[in-house]
Symmetry: C2
Subunit: 408 residues, 2 copies
């Protein structure tokens, strides 16, 4: 049996819905990956009686509890006081915490407001969690059957403290037998097609198969029991069946990300530069690459007929690819980019806005002096069509960079 974990978020801004509690989701993912069973999330506002009752309840239910928020300097930050009341552990001045808080302000050439002294008052007998990334130290303590860790609510600070101060200590406190999750990330293939392709693979007892279809990728997930010997081997079998649709495999040691993350790695290491022509995706393609140095230019035209030298008739595939070739050749000359990606479309603006109609998209990549073409159909509401169009154009580039087949 895994040890149980509860997540406790404190803050009026969460309980009133002003802030979506992304901390709880992030911590839960980490906890599951460490080998806990997460049983509950609870959120309470700035109410001392409510916080106290909740802490007492949790101490009787869970093996471990990570709490976020309520460690700030103002009077509505009540976590330490609630802990003191709930577990009868009076607050005591912690000189080291106070020195750290003072240093935080001194390093920024700021005067420490008197109210920050409150953040150095910690419950009797707790262990201080040093925080180099903000003013408030965290703290941890055991009460009843539950080990509590209290962290600031600022996501950046919370994440750093969890990664550097909490996670490394968990395996000495709990018997953890984490399962291993391998995620095979694909683009351009739907869930039912994936299922058909992997039908023939026999899934060993104890291994769980799952799917997750997001807007930007479809994930095939394999959850392996603790210390399963053949993780990589089974994952490879799945990846083989899914072929060139796979753009990354997560959970086998390599750091992976989304499609643009994978493209960014290869564009940067190869010192490539890209110029883009978009139609359907209306700037989304360029925006997905925001922050990258290798995207030199992008042109968006609502109407394909306005691209190129002459008005472009939206006729057959061959015509459109010929037009794309001309546009790409011209753009390569002027942009200074070694790669040019051109997205053309058959269908008018009405088709784009009609969720019951699909649109044909023609992507062309000019890399070196070779052209690569791919035709796709995108369907659904306009936002889905535009997002798919941006992704499928980028996927043509990804396939080239990864030396994969360009036709699918």
């Amino acid at each position: 049996m895994n040890p149980t974990m509860e997540i406790f978020s404190q803050g009026e801004e969460i309980v009133t819905g002003q802030t979506v509690d992304t901390n709880a989701a992030w911590l839960s993912q980490q906890a599951v990956a460490c080998g806990f069973t997460v049983t509950r999330h609870s959120t309470a506002g700035d109410n001392l009686a409510d916080l106290t009752a909740l802490l007492q309840d949790i101490s009787q239910r869970a093996d471990c509890c990570i709490c976020t928020g309520g460690l700030g300097p103002t009077s509505d930050d009540l976590t330490a006081e609630a802990v003191a009341q709930a577990f009868n552990l009076p607050l005591e001045f912690d000189a080291i915490a106070f020195a750290q808080i003072s240093r935080f302000f001194a390093q920024r050439n700021k005067t420490m407001p008197g109210s920050n002294r409150k953040q150095a008052m910690l419950p009797h007998g707790c262990e201080r969690i040093d925080n180099e990334w903000g003013t408030a130290p965290g703290f941890s303590l055991q009460y009843g059957c539950c080990w509590f860790a209290f962290l600031p609510g600022v996501p950046m600070e919370m994440k750093r403290l969890f990664e550097e101060r909490i996670r490394p200590t968990l395996s000495s406190r709990f018997l953890l037998q984490p399962r291993q999750l391998v995620t095979i990330k694909t683009i351009g293939i739907g869930e039912s097609d994936i299922q058909e392709r992997i039908n023939s693979i026999e899934i060993p007892a104890g291994v769980q198969l799952g799917f997750r279809a997001g807007a930007d990728e479809v994930q095939t997930k394999l959850l392996f029991p603790f210390n399963y010997p053949e993780t990589a081997k089974l994952a490879a079998k799945f990846a083989e069946q899914l072929g060139d649709y796979v753009f990354a495999i997560d959970g086998l040691g390599e750091i992976t990300g989304d499609l643009v993350f994978e493209i960014d790695k290869l564009m940067t290491s190869g010192k490539h530069a890209l110029a883009v022509v978009e139609t359907v995706s209306q700037g989304l393609l360029a925006a997905k690459c925001v922050g990258s140095e290798w995207l030199l230019s992008s042109i968006y035209q609502q109407s394909t007929s306005k691209l190129g030298q002459n008005p472009l008739a939206e006729t057959d595939t061959e015509n459109l690819f010929a037009a794309a070739k001309a546009i790409a050749t011209d753009l390569k000359k002027h942009s200074g980019a070694d790669f040019v990606l051109v997205q053309l479309v058959a269908g008018d603006n009405k088709t784009l806005h009609d969720k019951d109609k699909s649109m044909a998209i023609y992507n062309t990549l000019l890399a070196g002096d070779k052209f690569h073409h791919a035709a796709h159909s995108v369907a659904g509401p306009i936002k889905r069509k535009q997002n798919q169009a941006a992704l499928l154009a980028l996927d043509l580039l990804r396939r080239y960079l990864q030396n994969k087949s360009m036709n699918h």
Copy 2:
């Protein structure tokens, strides 16, 4: 005293962190606007004992509880069963619910799987909540001091059911004295400048002033007591002090949205069309308008020097505005748009990536045959610079459309 509300979310995908619980935040905002005090959010996974205990606890604590999730057809959807156990209300077959579920499938020409019959089993004595937007009906019941409403977890269905079936009934069940929130939305002005400008306004007792600085807008919030007589008058005083930076005022009856929402209203009603040249914002400007019919074309160039007929020297403001004029005039001729927006920049790609350096941005709007210019400085990490650049260009257009001053 306001009645208290708790939000209860059910689902393994939330408790394990696979899904961020946006339902809880949305429902909390609605509840606060209705006049409730939201005291807690709780989330539990697919564990019958845990769900049952949580329901019993809530029935002793809160006046009202909205629950989402766990109403699906599969065996891990346990909400109705947990209610039956917690409150000793055996599940009974609801013929009307079953007919609705059957109709849902029939209308889509699909065969109803046998498992969906489970969704027609409702706790004894509850009130059914009809659901035209999905398969699962909701239900409500009073237990102890708490009125519970159980809704599906699919956000779209949950929202529709809350808006159409729950909210209209709340005022007959509870004594609600909602406070009124007026939000003044600004762009291009920071929180401290706002505070300075409104310093002179005397805030009546009982009215709360707050700020919220997001990535895309800064909100000045006025929270008025129930039935406060001079809401609009005080809001107008604030808006006057903030001047042309205000792009929308929410909470006084008019439907408002973000900056692009406001621009969209005016572009659509005026039947205008826009062509855009972006530099710093790298396609983000166009992407922010995604789905709009009035954005005809957009050009992104990483380097300002590649725009225009001749290489463009990044020199002084006048030179840059002269260059922008030429680019805009040329683009207006070819694009068929009556508005052209040109964003130029002084500073190279290195400045963009350096979070300690700020960049000067020169926006030009050509509307009719008149040019309007605005110069800005954007600072911070690259993502912030790019986002601000996109927003400030759009804000020049907004000012023109709203007949506001173009210089700030």
